[in-house]
């Protein structure tokens, strides 16, 4: 009944994750300024890129719900939002854990961090809205509207927060990845990105399949 995931996908994800962990801890060189704590970025940066990708998927899927009907794209939007919130949580927490030994503070209100926090809040709200609305075409439409206005809002948030920060310009430029990215670091980063991307694809596909199964079961249970 559930659409079968091509088993190659989770397998590939497992291999990639193992490879990434190996590279991160055993192969990537220790960074000169930040020390070993810098290895957190091999997780933090890919997670961030994929979190933003997830929300792009939510935005596009929401538009498609409005354009071509709620059935299939609503599931994609909801699944992408779930995975997006998961990854964004990882980004925010690993970012804080990295920031404390590196910058001396757990958090700064710079444009990128603040926008990511607002992004997290908006999509948590999106999921909350869904969970509190009875399932059906109406919920899909309402969710699509929220997805669209969320997508329109985030660039405006980024712009506004950047302006807000001009009131107190940062005295030092906070560099994220460090002064130099050696080729070993880049390789490790890319492998980690591949691993995260595969995990993302697995989770998304699985979640969409589950939602589809659930909907079909709802129909069947009504008839049997």
């Amino acid at each position: 009944m559930t659409d079968r995931l091509p088993s190659a996908l989770p397998l590939a994800a497992l291999v990639a994750v193992s490879a990434a962990l190996g590279l991160i801890f055993l192969w990537a060189p220790t960074e000169a300024v930040q020390g070993d704590v810098q290895r957190i970025l091999y997780v933090h940066v890919p997670a961030a890129w994929l979190a933003y990708l997830a929300f792009a998927v939510v935005a596009v899927a929401s538009v498609l719900v409005v354009a071509s009907g709620p059935e299939r794209w609503d599931r994609v939007a909801a699944s992408a939002a779930e995975v997006g919130v998961l990854f964004t949580t990882i980004v925010l927490v690993t970012g804080s854990i990295w920031a404390r030994p590196t910058w001396g503070v757990w958090w700064v209100w710079d444009a990128r961090l603040t926008t990511t926090l607002v992004l997290w809040a908006v999509y948590v709200g999106y999921l909350l809205f869904r969970s509190l609305t009875p399932p059906g075409a109406r919920r899909a439409r309402v969710a699509a509207v929220i997805g669209i206005i969320g997508a329109i809002d985030i660039p405006i948030v980024h712009f506004a927060v950047t302006w807000w920060n001009t009131a107190h310009p940062e005295p030092t430029v906070i560099s994220r990845a460090g002064p130099q990215l050696t080729s070993e670091m880049l390789t490790t980063l890319l492998v980690s990105l591949a691993a995260f991307a595969l995990v993302f694809a697995c989770l998304l596909a699985l979640r969409v399949a589950q939602m589809s199964a659930r909907e079909r079961l709802d129909v069947l249970e009504a008839h049997v």
Partner: protein, 48 residues
């Protein structure tokens, strides 16, 4: 070095915990779906 280890453990621990929690949720949902399927098949058999 041991201090860095602490931070690394915390960060990777959080990532692992978050993914594990989500996968556990997915597994629970999968079980629920399987239950509903067998219940429906049971009901369908009863009708025959």
């Amino acid at each position: 070095m041991s201090e860095a280890l602490g931070w690394l453990a915390a960060a990777f621990g959080v990532v692992w915990a978050a993914l594990a929690l989500y996968l556990w949720r997915l597994a629970r949902e999968q079980r629920r779906i399987a239950d509903r399927i067998s219940r429906i098949e049971g009901r369908a058999d009863d009708h025959r």
